[in-house]
């Protein structure tokens, strides 16, 4: 009797190994250096291109906006990357699960229950603290239900996330219709703090929070490399999985809250930059991945604003362009995943 053992025959190693990108082999460090240089160049371009008013005014005006861009870029890319590491999933992002719609719901509910007067009189820091703690509570609960209890299929997760996002969104819309117009103006003011008009207090908190998170992440980044191998592997290799994932979830949610409070929800931006970082960085180490994702985010965010400002003359909105590109990218990822 003949045994069909062909499936197990080891084929010789292919001579021309197929690379993801047919470019010159660069080490991860070199790639990162290039990305940092490019990001710096984009920022410089942003600050100095086509200055018509006095330099003093321009630098202050653009500087503040650039700082916002930087904070948002760092927050969204880090949050998405860590969330994907935590959930071992490269398509899900906190925004797709509806974390940022939850933040808006919380803000709306605060105005609804406290009233506009109380809301505006609240200390900025206290207000931010309340909002973030509510968000952490709510989002942790959501995460527990979706990821920890049962291992759902990817498509179900996305579907549930989208449904939750719409639910939170509609609830906010309902509350907005119930409050009176003057209160709504107050709410709108805090909700649509766009890239142009950002509260300086908020910038201060954001910078501090990002600093603290940065210190923490730089200490444990090796553990994240192991966490990315999955729960069982991480525990086997001596990671305190329960603790690390809890802390990471809080970091992710805080960062999402931070960026949403600065510029409102952006659904696909995180997904876009993080997946770009996976491709471009050619490394599985968070030491490379996190800075690379941040650089990608800065280049895209600041670069597209330069485009918008000087070539399209603000005929479109920044978020629309980014969401358009990001959305297409998301669809591509889903399709490719299906084919595999």
């Amino acid at each position: 009797m003949q045994v069909d053992n062909t499936a197990n025959i080891e084929l010789p190693e292919p001579i021309n190994k197929r690379r993801l990108l047919p470019i010159i082999k660069l080490t991860a460090n070199h790639r990162l250096c290039l990305a940092v240089l490019l990001a710096l160049a984009t920022c410089l371009l942003y600050m100095s291109w086509n200055v018509t008013a006095s330099w003093e005014f321009t630098l202050e005006f653009r500087g503040k906006k650039l700082l916002t861009f930087l904070i948002v870029a760092i927050a969204i890319s880090t949050a998405t990357l860590l969330f994907q590491t935590l959930s071992n999933n490269r398509i899900i992002t906190p925004a797709i699960i509806g974390f940022d719609s939850l933040y808006i719901l919380i803000q709306t509910a605060l105005v609804f229950f406290l009233g506009a007067m109380q809301y505006t009189q609240l200390n900025v820091y206290l207000k931010w603290g309340i909002e973030i703690s509510l968000l952490v509570l709510g989002a942790s609960f959501l995460f527990q239900c979706l990821f920890v209890k049962k291992r759902h299929s990817l498509y179900l997760l996305i579907l549930i996330g989208v449904v939750f996002g719409v639910l939170f969104h509609s609830l906010s819309a309902l509350l907005m219709r119930l409050i009176n117009p003057s209160e709504f103006t107050v709410l709108q003011d805090s909700l649509f703090a766009s890239f142009n008009a950002v509260d300086p207090h908020l910038l201060l908190i954001s910078t501090l929070v990002i600093g603290c998170i940065g210190i923490f992440v730089s200490k444990v980044h090796h553990q994240y490399d192991v966490l990315a191998l999955g729960e069982a592997m991480a525990i086997n290799l001596g990671i305190n999985h329960a603790r690390l994932s809890r802390v990471t979830l809080i970091i992710v949610i805080t960062l999402i809250g931070l960026s949403t409070s600065l510029v409102g929800p952006v659904t696909f931006f995180g997904l876009l930059v993080v997946n770009l970082a996976y491709i471009v960085s050619a490394s599985h180490l968070h030491r490379h991945l996190i800075p690379m994702a941040i650089c990608c985010a800065i280049i895209i965010l600041v670069g597209s604003d330069v485009l918008l400002q000087h070539f399209l003359h603000y005929n479109s909105k920044l978020s629309i362009i980014i969401e358009f590109v990001g959305g297409i990218f998301f669809l591509l990822l889903i399709l490719r995943n299906k084919i595999r």
Binding site: Q223, V226, N236, L237
Partner: protein
């Protein structure tokens, strides 16, 4: 020595494991056998702290493993589960390097690199060293994962069906290497096995499970009897002797 006391695991009302009292020796090869759904993999998960038991305790040298620090435990006990899906793009070398994580905490030293090298050699993985694991065949990938847990260099090594996806040649090869590790380096290797003949051939001890309980724990000669095996698997089986070794025929 790893011991379990009154270990129970329930999913809702379904009892997966019932009152497991076991002792794993600190050296030698132990095979866990039993029909599907007997609770073999669950037992492995509980003993290796991948899952929390509903009740009962697991102790390592007299100390409860839930009280031990996770990084310390990772240098004494390694586990490889059946399904290992990794999202990240890793080379075989990267993967094996992760096996040394409990020692280097992300900064591999020369001693770690030497160990990685020797393990890759030990499992004949040298030609695949720089290949990405998602581009390997099932058998090659399985060997890479085994290399990873071997690099962890622990006293206890728990493997859930290590021969999954392996052809005959590599199955025998891996078993010989594991036997070597157990005998020369005095390690304790505990495996969930489906191929009863492999289990009988290489184990020092066999633990038989059925419906969430331990029904036999004995040397292979005692387990490899038609009556015993029929009790375990609930099917007619025949044990013959070939070249002085018991061989179970279960193909028809």
């Amino acid at each position: 020595m790893i011991q379990t006391q009154q270990l129970c695991l329930k999913y809702g009302t379904i009892e997966v494991l019932k009152d497991i009292n076991l002792t794993f020796k600190s050296a030698g090869i132990t095979s866990i056998i039993g029909p599907n759904g007997a609770g073999k993999s669950s037992l492995l998960s509980l003993v290796c702290r991948l899952q929390q038991p509903t009740s009962g305790t697991v102790t390592l040298n007299g100390e409860q493993i839930s009280r031990l620090k996770s990084p310390d435990l990772a240098r004494q006990l390694a586990v490889l589960r059946q399904e290992n899906h990794i999202v990240a793009r890793l080379t075989v070398e990267d993967l094996v390097c992760f096996g040394r994580f409990p020692y280097h905490q992300g900064r591999p030293k020369t001693a770690d690199m030497a160990k990685i090298d020797s393990v890759i050699d030990f499992l004949d993985l040298q030609p695949f060293r720089l290949r990405y694991i998602n581009e390997l065949s099932g058998g090659q990938r399985q060997r890479a994962f085994i290399a990873m847990v071997l690099a962890q260099d622990t006293q206890y090594l728990f493997l859930d069906e290590p021969l999954n996806n392996l052809d005959m040649k590599h199955s025998v090869n891996i078993m010989k290497r594991l036997q070597q590790a157990a005998q020369v380096m005095h390690k304790s290797i505990i495996m969930v096995m489906h191929d009863i003949n492999f289990a009988a051939c290489y184990s020092d001890e066999i633990i038989a499970m059925k419906q969430g309980r331990i029904i036999y724990q004995d040397c292979p000669q005692m387990i490899m009897q038609s009556q015993m095996l029929e009790n375990i698997y609930d099917m007619p089986l025949k044990v013959i002797e070939l070249e002085g070794r018991p061989l179970c025929l279960y193909y028809r």
